[in-house]
Symmetry: C2
Subunit: 473 residues, 2 copies
């Protein structure tokens, strides 16, 4: 008889009995989910938009005592009701919004096996799903055969791009550190803040980043890039990375990739395309011209959790030349890599060790929609932006600041500061919308990323803006 | 009349009708979830453990055509059935396993609002939840008032710890890059591979990392650390970080934190405690002694997705001195930070820009269990490990390699190579278990992280091991 310990025995249980607690909670949660979805378009209680009042109302404190599951579920329901829903038509605040229903459900189901995506041994079929996504997405960008890594967000995809560029240019950097002052990096003045942030993290230094001016439509000026590259080379520096942005954060502008690629490669630099927001346009015949030349990139970041409507987060870094990810990221870990070849063990190419499954939801959405469905979905996003722009342009209370370069529509309510309008809308719980600066003017930014919106919703959004503006005038 | 476009109108819809597709899918998914949970303890089909056979069986290909939602749901069900469940008693392969049911459900519910955790404006009440976790968890470690950041995994929590240590020691590093060869780092030879990996990423160089020998029980030798620190200082180098491991990956050993803290601080170095695996022991009176001195750390990594049973991922970095996270990570981003103070906008302290909600599931579990429930849960994990060790020690076919330092039980099946046993068990779909090297011997590593296991499960696990070993002898 092996040793036993009565305290460590459970009552004999069937497999179904083992999971009974979870199944019971799941059934109650299904009702909460249904109610949430039915209510997510309502205005938010203004009291919940005030952190102090919200904190006073909610009981969030953690302490010694536990509570029963039903009570915690009720607390979760209360908490969700006090949380903005990014699928409400009232949420046009960010570069994500709305949901592909099958992706939402796949994300929930992926919580059940709860695998870590470092090895086939631990994650089984989910690894094959991820590899198929990398293969197909690379092909859609004209980067057939690229290797890929799923990362927790576009900023970190951009980080790894700079890292592999650094280690490709200076292979001893990984072991010995980076030569200070050697490298320079280039991005437009309207590119994402993660470029300087990541340069700081990687030991390249934020001062190595050159902000290249943009033209009147928010696109990097190619001539200015050429000047900056020449100046740095003349000063004995090595251009390391040119970061071209496919979809800037505020305006949704696209840097001209093809001429930038030419300049970057002529200067011996790595071309990274930050397509976190806009690489999805490659799936659309209407949008494809905006990413013309993306196939010339050495690496591309692409966030399906933005324009593709899958839940946060799902971000992919594609790297044209296989092998460089492992050259910067692989470490020996016998306890982990025990079976199968490197291809089936993405941990060799990952920034992370343990890594959640961010692939299944995207695969499910892609199976549901197919390339053809993405074409239609992206087309609708672009058309919604054009319609919103037409509505704004026709409205005497509003001023359109520029034709939307893609799906961001930047405008002002005449005679009122844009930030004040956005703050008031938040304060009143009516609309979540942000502001940004466009060619020196502070603009309200309407992001038409949720294809479930329609013309009536756009009218309702603009009505909310105008009502708030009138109250402030 | 504002402009309109008939193609962009949906049929008039109530709020409930807007969500009808999702609600319909959720109902079907509930059945899939129930069936998955009822079957997750079965052996895996050996054909699904072979990547080539699995690939041939599954239709994963992405292409032009879409499919209806019901069909994709059926495909998801097939895929889940071919995925190892980390909540099966047959999964003892990793430092996570099992689930707290309320955390699983909270994780699923968090997908509905799908907020990004950079600002109160975007995430509302969820930010308050996260701040309460940081407050309470810091207090449980004796680090009252520490600031915290949720990160996608322990490796990245360790990365940020090294980053803030680097920028604290050399404040100009963020802008100008790192002085090569200046800094040195220290970790035990059995510490996690993310330490050298992160040193490479941050421009410190992997060569800067000193591997400190361990004693017979897998703990860093304090005297050897002292020698290494002295030698480097004598050579004109600056000890930057001493990384003490609370819970090594293979053996579950705990470096002696208090004497290491003394040495690190006397040398002017930052003390980081990699408690990704073992910081949870601070919640247990039985385990607390193993993390004695953790309150002296400058930073601590802590992965609730390991011993606390919340779904991947939930990782926290706590930093004793507030302000240093923003000093390394904050960037100006007007388009994002529009309301409320810095405390309510964790994006100022985050490695990421967009960031999924990894807090709600942990908060739900903590409300359910309370500190008292964690005490009991961790106690059971420790007792399961002791019982497993007793069973192994009493079994003539098995050899226990050491008393379990915490919840990892390392042993061999007499006369058979441990890796061969593990490979066979995987090949046959009977048990997911890994091997590692313990004091020069290759061991089977049984991680008693799932408190739902009981004595009978331990017997079943050891029976599987012995059956596989007999087949190989």
């Amino acid at each position: 008889m092996p040793p036993s310990d009565a305290r460590l025995e459970n009552p004999p249980r069937s497999d179904a009995e083992r999971g009974a607690d979870l199944v019971d909670l799941l059934e109650r949660a299904a009702r909460i989910a249904r109610d949430f979805v039915a209510r997510e378009h309502r205005p938010v209680d203004p009291a919940d938009r005030d952190p102090d009042r919200l904190r006073a109302r909610l009981d969030l404190e953690l302490g010694a005592a536990g509570r029963d599951g039903a009570r915690v579920l009720a607390e979760l329901e209360t908490l969700l009701a006090a949380t903005p829903s990014s699928s409400s038509w009232r949420f046009v605040n960010q570069l994500f919004g709305g949901r592909e229903p099958i992706a939402t459900v796949a994300e929930m189901l992926a919580v059940l096996p709860n695998v870590s995506m470092y090895t086939f041994k631990a994650a089984g079929a989910q690894i094959l799903v991820e590899l198929e996504l990398v293969r197909h997405m690379a092909a859609k960008l004209g980067l057939d055969g690229a290797e890929g890594a799923f990362l927790p967000g576009g900023s970190l995809a951009n980080l790894v791009a700079l890292l592999v560029a650094r280690d490709t240019a200076e292979p001893q950097a990984r072991d010995h550190g980076v030569t200070p002052g050697r490298f320079t990096l280039y991005t437009s003045e309207e590119g994402h803040y993660s470029l300087p942030k990541n340069a700081g993290i990687l030991g390249l230094g934020r001062d190595a980043v050159r902000g290249i001016p943009v033209d009147g439509a928010g696109r990097m000026r190619v001539a200015a890039l050429a000047v900056a590259l020449d100046r740095d080379r003349a000063a004995g520096r090595t251009p390391l990375v040119v970061n071209a942005t496919a979809g800037t954060t505020v305006r949704g502008a696209f840097d001209p990739l093809r001429p930038i690629a030419e300049l970057a490669h002529a200067a011996g630099a790595w071309l990274h395309v930050d397509g976190a927001f806009g690489a999805t346009l490659a799936l659309s015949s209407a949008g494809r011209a905006l990413v013309d030349g993306i196939e010339l990139a050495d690496s591309v970041s692409w966030d399906p959790h933005k324009m593709m409507g899958v839940p946060l987060q799902s971000s992919l870094l594609l790297v044209a030349r296989p092998g460089v990810l492992a050259a910067s990221l692989d470490e020996r870990a016998d306890y982990l890599f025990q079976l199968h070849g490197d291809e089936l063990n993405p941990g060799h190419r990952s920034l992370q060790c343990g890594r959640r499954n961010d692939a299944l939801k995207l695969w499910a959405a892609w199976r549901r929609l197919g390339d053809d469905g993405w074409e239609a979905r992206v087309g609708r996003q672009l058309e919604l932006a054009r319609l919103a722009a037409a509505k704004i342009d026709a409205d005497p209370e509003l001023e359109l600041l520029e034709p939307p370069p893609s799906i961001n529509v930047c405008f002002v309510a005449r005679g009122v500061a844009s930030d004040a309008v956005c703050d008031r809308l938040d304060h009143d719980g009516r609309l979540e919308i942000g502001w940004g600066d466009v060619a020196g003017r502070r603009a309200i930014r309407l992001v038409c990323v949720n294809p479930e919106l329609d013309g009536r919703d756009l009218d309702a959004i603009l009505d909310e803006v105008k009502r708030a503006a009138r109250g402030l005038r």
